[in-house]
Symmetry: C2
Subunit: 328 residues, 2 copies
Amino acid sequence: MADIARKTGVSPMTVSRAFKSGSLINKETRDAILKAAEELGYVFDSTASNLRSKKTDFIAVTIPSINNANFADTVGGLSSVLSARGFQILLGYTNYDVEEEERLIEHLLRRKPQAIAVTGGKHTRRARKLLENAKIPVIETWDVPAEPIGHFVGFSNAKAVRGMVDHFVAVGYRRIAFIGGDASRDTRGTDRRHGFIAALKDHGLDASRLIDAGAPPISMREGANAMGRLLTELPDTEAVICVSDLSAFGALTECQRRGVRVPDQMAIGGFGDYEIGGISVPALTTVNAHARQIGERTGALILDLLNGEQTIADVTLQPQLIVRESSR
Amino acid sequence: MADIARKTGVSPMTVSRAFKSGSLINKETRDAILKAAEELGYVFDSTASNLRSKKTDFIAVTIPSINNANFADTVGGLSSVLSARGFQILLGYTNYDVEEEERLIEHLLRRKPQAIAVTGGKHTRRARKLLENAKIPVIETWDVPAEPIGHFVGFSNAKAVRGMVDHFVAVGYRRIAFIGGDASRDTRGTDRRHGFIAALKDHGLDASRLIDAGAPPISMREGANAMGRLLTELPDTEAVICVSDLSAFGALTECQRRGVRVPDQMAIGGFGDYEIGGISVPALTTVNAHARQIGERTGALILDLLNGEQTIADVTLQPQLIVRESSR
DNA sequence: ATGAAAGCGCTAACAT
DNA sequence: ATGTTAGCGCTTTCAT
């Protein structure tokens, strides 16, 4: 900035103002400054700006995996709301591991973000403490935490699966299995499995048809393998609910390879309303968890909190059951 | 740090050393300092550190879309190599738009990253200039740029499709169509289409069976719609190559809905070796572009360049044709 | 192994 | 509308 100030014959402070929109500055002065900056190949230094002004334009976000369309949608929603207001998302992946999440949160907080959104409501004790002490808005997403740290934008994974179970039972399925969600690392998957078990029990049905599909993220391939085991070990199963549409699609393909007709011989339900569930043949019954909306609402909530307008309270979304051809 | 220094009776400089691994410091002094820091709820300020030391631990990365498994794999590869060395990825999405890329690059450079990796070799003139002037390693990926700005880690999209065309022709297909890649925004998709046209012409075949599938990213649904048009408008087509596995899978489902047998009545090829291509029934013939490897090699190249060891030159990867059931 | 002084590049606060 | 002064929280550099 000093160079530009010298070149244009103004003070560094004026140069500073020229780069900040909404500052009191003569239009010609600003144009001359911006022109000089471009000629000098000047690049504004956010680091110094952030240090002096004691604020950054970072919003920290942690998600379990980068390679998941649901979380990508959430980040997309967040990003569209926050980028428009000049914020930069600082993204980290926990790989479905709370220890990794703790490390990540610690590092993200060192960058002094203005707010932080984390996926899920389960954290290490130290991570929780770090978030509590951070003195910035903390939003937990994709869950309804028993004891929220700050705010949350989520839904009940257990209730969402219960909704599908209720539907399956209502249309006549009785011997219903569940694939995935038993790895304790993926708490949302585990919640879905717990919801499945509780719902079946409430209907007086056997809730022991549980197929382990491995550690999250559960792939299409693992869904297919799990369906293979289900068909071998519990061949009288009438319907299966999978922890996600990806594993559900894998399960569907395994049925196709074995000549098992879906839904006649085996009904399949997924979770997450991924694109594939809407286009596969047959299309998959699933639950839309409003992934993008979670991001948009989180972004809006963050903006409100930063503006001191505590208008939005916590947000509990209602997942939507989508019945398609893979079940009746 | 001053607070911690006071509390432990040392100078702020010693506190600073306690947080930096590999510094000359008494073990007990360090332990006392770290303990005091934890008690005070101290969080290290990267902003100040970065300003004074004139270096950050940011590596800037731009990708067209967050919601694409191929780019996610590349970021995953980059991340695994660079996080292990303490770097933080600063990620931005261009939405397949070079103007947006320019804005993004400008903002990313303000954070003074140590290196920047961008997807593709086509940029606005100003973006190119910004990268040239940045005085940090610049890596272009997913492409072999005609005039690289700095380094590149990529492959020829045109040649990769040519390889599939050669195979299709060798096994007897003659009336071959292409879906996607006509939106000029997605330069890699356009390169694939150009490669398709050139290859067909070299075989003396008609290269006019081109179906527009809309602006990138091309979804499964758009692939299905495109296949619908292809079957209606050019019903004697024997094989189709799609710009990605996602559109190829959509095309496959459209065949299934219409009772068109794949590959007997219509062979299908995709691109990118997405998980779905390996598990769908039939499985999809595709091209593995080594997405994760692009990220890993880019990360390794960046580390070498930052260490001043110019050992790796540019990297041109060889995409691999994978023939599966959707073609013969 | 530790400390003292100086300053990274901006901008808050105040002045004109 | 513009300028002056001081300082954000660290780390470089030099000293002991």
